[in-house]
């Protein structure tokens, strides 16, 4: 072979498994034989590369794929280099892409070495978990009225009642997991909003009456609508009722994210 004959190839055996990928192997072959990255003898390096690929002992599918794809790329490059280039068309060196990739990868390797050293020096710092301080709840005498206490008390009883009822219910013989398609809930919420522009989430989806997964799905649907900037959500205080208000008259569901667009 003509190209690359003047290079002293270092042919010590290497194990493909020791390399992070085709670029790592190529960089190693090039560095080892002191080749200029911008003037790689493609034919020779391809032969070298292939000989290592053939001798590989164990490779998982993902690694093998990347090595083979790179082999195909090298073959293609080799072919391009063999074809005569018409004199008029001054094309860019077909090896330019490869050189750029290799140079970029080389830099990433040097940065990763630097980060490894930084981590060895600074990674051993220990942090302390936050002290478990109970949250402080502020009450101002002015805005709490007797009726608020009554309402709060009733709310506690109502929630407790729900628990009691659950505990009282005999267990169903077969526990089945119900799947609530969020898309369906999303559509029904959109219809509801079209109908009356706003609604109280806690009343519409009462966790004491409805199926729990239905309420969870509805909650996720409302969050998604908020993300899509179709509704405004309002909650006056912690654990209070959530008001859902449509921003526009028509709800546009086209921006629904992953998991919302298809029924399962």
């Amino acid at each position: 072979m003509a190209i690359g004959d003047n290079i002293h190839w270092d042919l010590r055996p290497v194990r493909l498994e020791d390399f992070e990928g085709p670029l790592d192997l190529l960089l190693y072959l090039i560095d080892r034989s002191k080749i200029d990255i911008k003037d790689i003898p493609i034919a020779a390096i391809t032969d070298q590369y292939m000989s290592y690929l053939y001798r590989a002992e164990r490779l998982d599918v993902e690694e093998a794929t990347s090595f083979i794809v790179a082999a195909a790329y090298l073959m293609q490059l080799k072919t391009k280099m063999m074809l005569p280039v018409p004199k008029q068309e001054e094309e860019a060196d077909p090896r330019e892409d490869l050189a750029r990739s290799l140079e970029m990868y080389k830099r990433v390797k040097s940065v990763s070495q630097m980060l490894r050293e930084r981590e060895a020096t600074y990674g051993g710092t220990m942090t302390k978990a936050p002290e478990p301080l109970p949250a402080r709840i502020n009450f101002s005498n002015d805005d709490v009225k007797v009726k608020d206490f009554i309402a709060a008390y009733q709310e506690v009883i109502r929630r407790r009642q729900w628990r009691i009822e659950i505990e009282r219910k005999p267990l169903p013989k077969v526990v089945k997991r119900e799947r609530v398609p969020i898309k369906r809930v999303l559509n029904s919420i959109a219809a509801k909003l079209k109908d009356k522009q706003k609604f109280n989430f806690n009343q519409e989806f009462d966790v004491t009456k409805e199926d729990k997964s239905e309420v969870v799905a509805a909650f996720m649907a409302v969050l998604e609508l908020s993300r899509m900037q179709q509704v405004k959500l309002q909650q006056k205080h912690l654990f209070g009722d959530i008001n859902v208000q449509a921003i526009k008259a028509d709800i546009d569901l086209s921006g629904a994210g992953t998991g919302f667009e298809e029924e399962t």
Binding site: G21, E103, V111, S112, G124, T125, T127, K128
Partner: protein, 223 residues
């Protein structure tokens, strides 16, 4: 309840902060106690709201506290991460802490994980396709490992077909590498590029990424 006390109960978030009449030493002492209690990084704004001092005073005091802790006679350090301060143990104490707790030495990240971390650090926010293009090999497991270690996080999605997830480094990354902010990272090798001046790799790489669909029909034998 007096007005002053009321103000202390309700943090003055968002209101104009006034210079505190507390002495620098007093503010330092309070910051020290707060950082110990919090464990986590506490932002300058949060400290200012809690102590009722202006942010310049807080920063001044925190930096002095940092200096007080910097000597060899201390096992604790005050570190700065972006606009927050945190109390941590000095990294050189790690060996002794290992003895105390008989815990396993922290697991080293693989070469692959460090490569992915390097790319995320300098190209963030960056998508998986760009990471894999630069490394020339699939990087799923390394990304998962870095997420698990809390060094990178899913910072958003790109507005291109498929809405791919973008990855960025966390405050934990800064702490592990001993940096106060991303601006402390040295320039990318052989370039003047700092993390702030990223190349728009995504645009550059997308047309190419589609070319890889052309694969040879006959694969070389692997034995």
């Amino acid at each position: 309840m007096s007005k002053i006390l009321d103000d202390r109960i309700t943090p003055a978030y968002g209101t104009d902060r006034v210079s505190s009449d507390k002495s620098l030493e007093q503010i330092k002492a309070i910051i020290e106690a707060l950082l110990f209690t919090a464990g986590e990084p506490v932002s300058i704004n949060r400290l200012a709201d809690t102590i009722l001092a202006d942010t310049a005073q807080i920063e001044d005091a925190a930096l002095q506290l940092q200096l007080d802790y910097s000597g060899d006679a201390r096992g604790l350090r005050i570190i700065r991460i972006n606009n927050a301060f945190q109390m941590v143990t000095d990294a050189s104490m790690y060996e002794h802490i290992l003895q105390l707790a008989e815990i396993e030495k922290r697991q080293q990240l693989s070469q692959a994980a460090y490569e992915v971390l390097s790319i995320v650090a300098y190209k963030q926010p960056v998508i998986r396709a760009v990471i894999e293009k630069i490394r020339g090999v699939g990087s799923d497991s390394s990304i998962a490992k870095l997420m698990e270690r809390g060094l990178i996080y899913e910072s958003g999605r790109l507005d291109i077909p498929g809405r791919p997830i973008t990855y960025s480094t966390t405050d934990e990354f800064l702490r592990c590498m001993g940096y106060s902010s991303l601006a402390d990272l040295p320039p990318f090798p052989d370039t003047e590029e700092t993390p702030d001046e990223q190349m728009s790799l995504t645009e550059e790489m997308f047309p190419e990424a589609e070319d890889t669909a052309e694969q040879p029909t006959e694969l070389p034998k692997l034995d």
